[in-house]
């Protein structure tokens, strides 16, 4: 029982980190569908840096690459006011493709000194709490929420809508990068193409399931973690084909989306802000 809970937390941590990152920018009104690609590329960056300079640099590098990719999405979603959904999907493809391409030389290389999973799992929990406080107790949190609900009003009050959104994308990108670093440095200390295995999409669905609340995302992530654990545990011991188990997280995401489809999203979610209009 204890082992099950521990594994649930460890499985749930990358989902939690990535969904906190997506949640942050979505509260500011910017949809991030690039999570999967951002995670893959920062996992690779973290792994490469850790091989060269040690795990701490690996984590920093993963976070940094995640932040940069968040800002990259910002160029399209905020600066150019392009379609956020398409930009995110393109970023997902680009990130997955580029990491597969650049990571080829690292395939099969083991990481000499992996990070303890527990440390990062604890950090993820602290980040969730911090994000909750940031959103509910700080001035920036107020700005972020107002930008996500009604950017026009926020703009009239002198809040820099674009500035708030860039910061949210950079901070959120950093968390997504940390999720990637967790995968390649602690969870499975190695690099393989496609190692994110759909976790990024699960994280995006979790944001909706959690109703855009960081603390609820914690519970949801650990719940997903428990399901992943059960999937590994039951595999082989029951007469169900392993493909059915592998497909389970995706089926779950669909169910979650159907159950929480009408949850109230930030009102300006996905809409580019134009002062002139």
């Amino acid at each position: 029982m204890e082992e099950a809970l521990l594994r649930a937390v460890l499985f749930g941590t990358p989902i939690l980190l990535a969904s906190l990152g997506a949640l942050l920018s979505e509260r500011g009104g910017v949809v991030n569908l690039g999570v999967e690609g951002m995670m893959a590329l920062s996992a690779l960056a973290a792994f490469a840096a850790a091989l060269e300079a040690g795990p701490v640099w690996g984590v920093l590098c993963g976070v940094g690459v995640g932040s940069l990719l968040g800002l990259f999405l910002g160029v399209f979603a905020v600066f150019l006011r392009a379609n956020q959904f398409v930009a995110g999907l393109a970023l997902a493809a680009l990130g997955l493709g580029a990491s597969g391409l650049l990571g080829k030389r690292y395939e099969g290389t083991p990481l000499p000194d992996p990070l303890p999973e527990g440390v990062l799992a604890g950090l993820a929990l602290i980040l969730a709490l911090g994000l909750h406080l940031l959103l509910s107790r700080t001035r920036y949190g107020l700005y972020l929420r107002s930008v996500g609900e009604n950017p026009k009003a926020a703009d009239l009050f002198g809040v820099s809508v674009d500035g708030v959104r860039y910061l949210a994308l950079a901070l959120g990108g950093g968390m997504i990068g940390l999720a990637g670093a967790y995968l390649s440095l602690a969870y499975r200390p190695s690099w393989t193409d496609g190692m994110t295995s759909g976790l990024g999409w699960v994280a995006i669905a979790l944001v909706i399931l959690a109703g855009w609340q960081p603390l609820r995302a914690v519970l949801g992530a650990y719940f997903f973690g428990l399901l992943f654990f059960l999937q590994f545990r039951l595999q082989g011991s029951v007469p169900i084909p392993s493909e059915a188990f592998a497909a389970m997280p995706y089926l779950l995401v669909i169910l979650v989306l159907a159950l929480s489809g009408r949850a109230r999203a930030p009102r300006a979610l996905g809409q580019p802000f134009d002062r002139g209009r």
């Binding site: 399209f76 393109a90 493709g97 909706i208 493909e243 059915a244 497909a247 669909i254 989306l257 159950l259």
Partner: protein, 349 residues
């Protein structure tokens, strides 16, 4: 200094914006090639190499076929406001349906039509499910269709490794070869299965007519342009979305039948059936700007990129993922250029 909407950008400006972004995409792609360790010029040369000979052109043609079918359907779905990202899964469903008819029903002259019918039907069911979840429960179709891709992926893996695994094949994960009645004719020695090609061209023409020359198309366009207006006019939005989704899924299913009956002649591992046609077709449709007819030009263009990616893989043993990179960069530069050309910089607050 600030951005403002530019309601009527000059052609010159549009051209400039697109050139800028295509140049940026090429630059970034070149950088990635450099990091990977090949000369960008050589890589670009290989990417365009299929244009050089008839064999290469046939490769482009073969890849154009599924892109035509899927792209035409997606152009319609996007126009109506149904963001179907699951064409990949719908194509695989089509392949499963086609394979079922080919392998388990008595062969005869009815086999091929029945394959297309069942394959297209399964594709339509698969996209219709996402449309129903959206209309009934408000589930975001971008995510549901994407998740459905993974579901069919594992279904196909299960089928070819388990119950449908061929009697005659031993170490390999695929079904037996289809009987001759279930194989599509090809053009000469190439892999261009022309009946499916004709279906694709017919789909592009037909959907164009449907969208621009019929009352149904008019309602579709209103709904896509302005959902609120559609509601005031009393249009049945849910039914319109469902219909567009079913059509696009059906066409993707047909594409899946074409791949297994025209090229592989058996059901095999999903990554080998579709070389990312579903995602590439999003680009085809986006480039066509909601006009199914334009797919006739944009599908071969993306077919060239897929064929070029294959050439890169063969010549430099580069992972096929390179196609994702090219597609992602192209999509980004497209929406970037579109957004940039619709804006102007004002030098005052």
């Amino acid at each position: 200094m600030r951005w403002e909407l530019d309601p009527s950008p000059s052609l010159w400006k549009v051209f400039l914006a697109y050139s800028l972004f295509v140049a940026l995409a090429l630059l970034l792609l070149g950088l990635l090639f450099l990091l990977y360790g090949v000369s960008p010029l050589k890589a670009y040369g290989l990417l365009l190499s299929p244009l050089g000979d008839s064999l290469g052109l046939a490769e482009v043609g073969r890849r154009t076929i599924p892109l035509l079918l899927i792209g035409a359907g997606l152009a319609l779905a996007f126009r109506v406001g149904f963001f179907n990202i699951g064409a990949e899964g719908q194509l695989l469903m089509g392949a499963v349906g086609g394979a079922y008819v080919a392998l388990f029903l008595p062969p005869g002259p009815w086999t091929l039509p029945l394959m297309f019918l069942l394959g297209g039907g399964l594709g339509a069911v698969w996209s219709g499910l996402a449309a129903w979840l959206r209309v009934r429960f408000g589930a975001n179709e971008i995510l549901t269709t994407l998740m459905q891709n993974y579901l069919v992926y594992y279904l196909v893996v299960y089928l070819v490794a388990g119950p449908w695994k061929g009697q005659m094949v031993f170490g390999f994960l695929y079904t037996d070869r289809f009987p001759p009645e279930a194989q599509l004719p090809r053009l000469g020695d190439t892999l261009v299965h022309w009946p499916t090609l004709l279906l694709g061209i017919a789909a592009a023409l037909g959907l164009q007519l449907l969208l621009f020359r019929t009352p149904l198309g008019f309602e579709w366009r209103i709904l896509g342009e302005n959902p609120q207006a559609a509601r005031y006019l009393g249009l049945k939005g849910g039914r319109l979305i469902l219909l567009a989704a079913l059509l696009s899924g059906f066409l993707a299913g047909l594409a899946g039948v074409g791949e297994v009956a025209g090229i592989h002649l058996r059901l095999l591992e999903p990554a080998q059936i579709s070389l990312g046609y579903g995602f590439t077709a999003i680009l085809v449709a986006w480039l066509a700007r909601g006009r199914p007819l334009w797919v006739l030009f944009t599908a071969p263009l993306l077919g060239l990129i897929l064929a070029g990616g294959d050439a890169l893989k063969l010549a430099l043993s580069m992972p096929f993922r390179v196609v994702d990179v090219v597609a992602g960069l192209l999509l980004l530069s497209l929406i970037g250029a579109e957004a940039l050309s619709q804006r102007r910089l004002i030098w005052r607050r």
